[in-house]
Every structure is written in C-alpha cells, then in structure tokens.
Symmetry: C2
Subunit: 203 residues, 2 copies
C-alpha cells in the first residue's frame, strides 16, 4: 500500500503524528536529567538520541522547537550540563509519565518515582535506578532550518556503568542491562539478543 | 564503576569505538538506497535515524564525515533522492554485510542478496524485502562543527507499507513487521512488544 506526501499532508493531525513518528522505528528510551539556577531538577523522556562520534565522545538528541516545550533546553542552556540515563525496563511506565506537562516547580523525579543521584564532578542529576548513566557538557546546538527543531550535542564527561556490563573490548553488553525501548510516542518494547557479528568485509 | 573523559581519551581506539558507539543504545536498523548518475545502485546500513518532524514529514540520519565513506552521500547530493528501508529480522546478516567496503561499481543489492524495487515516482531504489519502505527527497544538510559529521534530512515523498501494519489511528504496528534492531556497530536484536501506553497527563 502506498501513502504519498499529499496523503500525509491531508491526514488529520493525530493520524499524521502517529504515522510519521513511527517511521523512524524503535529506539532505546532515555531520561534526560537537568537542573536549573534554583537547584530544581528536571527529568524528561527522549528517544531520538544518536551517536555523533567516538573521539571526542559526542552524543546528540533531537529537541522539539523550544516554543513547544523547554525546561530541559533552558536548563542545559543555563549551565551547560545534562545527563542521559538508559531507562530500566521495569520502570517504563514511570519514565513515560515524565512526558506529562508538569509545571516548572515540580520535579519529575519525585512525581514519577525516580531517585536523583549526583556525582562529585557533574552538576546535573542522574537517575539512580538507571544501569547506564552518562554525564555530558553542552558542545554544540544546531537549529534545523526546515522546522526549527534542535539537535543538541553533548561531550561525554563521565559514564557510570556496572562493571559486568562491560565486555573486555569495550562493547557494552546492553542485553544484560534490561533497558526499555520505545516506538513512536508511547509504545514500549524490550530487546531480545540475536547475535554479535564480526566486522563486515567485502570478499 | 566510573569512566571519565580522561579515561575515554586514553583508551585504545577499538575499545573507545566499541564503548562510545554503545552508549546511544539500541535502534532500528535501516538500509539506505541511492543511485548514481550511471544508474548504479548503492545500499548501506545505517542505524542513527531520527524523527525530525511530522508536518512536514521529515526524517534525518547521521552520516560520518564524508572524508571517510561517501557513496551514499555523493548519490544523495547528485540527485536529491534516497530511500529508508526497515531491515527484515530474517535478513540482518545480509544487511550487516552491506557495511563492508565494496568498490563503487559493485551494487550492494547484488553483493548482499537484496532485490532493488522501484516506484514510478521515486528515482532511488527501494529494498523489495523490506516491510516498511520510505522514499525521501533531500531537504537539508547540516555539518556538525564538532567533528564534521553530517545530519542529512529528507522530506518523506511516499511510504510503502503493508496495510495490516497500519492501525486505524495511524500508529504503525511495528511489532508485526518483524524488523531488526542494532546496537553499536554489529550487535543485532529483535524487539519484544510490552505495551502501548496512553498519552501521559500530570494529575
């Protein structure tokens, strides 16, 4: 069955949102932790997290236009710090709840039942329950001209990970971490390991 | 266990590559199809595909600096067309093989065992075996200053999807599509459905 651009533009908003959000597939769910100048903590679920580079270590995420939602963005701009926390599979409902519109004075940590945790070196709050926690400094902010969406890039400052998740060659055995995946805006999955393949070579 | 930025910069290259590539988690695997001016087709696996916006319908993907690998990029620049094809779970090994360095005159379709398929309206080749095929026109190209990586954004022109994968509200029932997920550069997973949650509301 073919769906054309004309069809897409003609769909009602909810149908189009569901359809297009689903096209990019399934992704690991992340909770992004930030803090503001009044030491109020913010936590929000994001799924559009990408690898930008290994040296220097850079990760990015897509942030909706700041006219729409902005606590995470404002906090990152204010102090340059954020955390990316893989969502434990058992807590996907709590993580999803962080997408609700809480007012600025509400900590989503408390409202959703997560425990903020701090390292000595990084201002932004980590999610204590997360098996893979990443602390980042804002490195680059890019506005996508097509629709004013932002690509926020951070430089990894520290990683907190259980030692048994690390293979001897640096590979993260994420299959042992029991983390949640999300599809579109609201559908949760867990990963089933198939196989680690060797580096591909042309014959 | 803590790993600091200093640790990361001090690791040997392979260890660092494995570790940092794993941080961004698990993602749907895609085959990107393109064609050049000599009508030679190219196919390459990508996993850093993101949702940019629903209206207009925009998807993006991260492309390594063009000094490193460039057939996909060159083809997109030459004619402005590409396809994103979800990888069938049963064909993850063939999809992985497309990451090998084939020379320009080799079609990865043939070399890896995929069938090129064309719609009347879109120049770039689709992967016939894929259950969700997306045809896009180049919309925007962004160079990330931090490391010269590119974010390539396309506007969806058409979607080819089996009707039984589409829920009445536009949601794609990807759990029925049996597509593959990838973690880091080489580890494959399949998704296990947990639950579709309602839109989250603050109490």
């Amino acid at each position: 069955m073919q769906i054309t651009l004309e069809d897409i533009l003609g769909f009602d908003k909810q149908y189009r949102t569901n359809l297009i959000n689903g096209l990019s597939g399934i992704k690991s769910a992340f909770l992004i932790g930030t803090t503001n100048a009044n030491a109020q903590h913010n936590l929000a679920i994001f799924s559009n997290v990408v690898h930008i580079g290994a040296n220097p270590p850079l990760l990015g995420f897509i942030h909706r236009p700041v006219s729409v939602e902005k606590h995470t963005y404002e906090n990152i701009k204010a102090n340059g710090k954020f955390t990316l926390n893989h969502v434990p599979e058992a807590l996907y409902k709590a993580a999803h709840q962080s997408s609700a519109r809480f007012d600025r004075s509400t900590s989503e940590f408390e409202a959703c039942g997560f425990t903020p945790w701090f390292s000595e070196k990084h201002l932004a709050p980590y999610v204590s329950e997360s098996p893979i926690k990443i602390g980042l400094n804002l490195e680059e902010e890019i506005e996508i001209k097509s629709n004013q969406t932002l690509l926020i890039i951070g430089r990894v400052q520290e990683i907190w990970i259980a030692e048994q998740l690390l293979h001897a060659d640096g590979f993260i055995e994420i299959n042992k971490a029991q983390t949640a995946l999300v599809h579109g805006l609201e559908t949760y999955f867990k990963p089933s390991f198939i196989e680690r393949l060797p580096y591909a070579k042309a014959n």
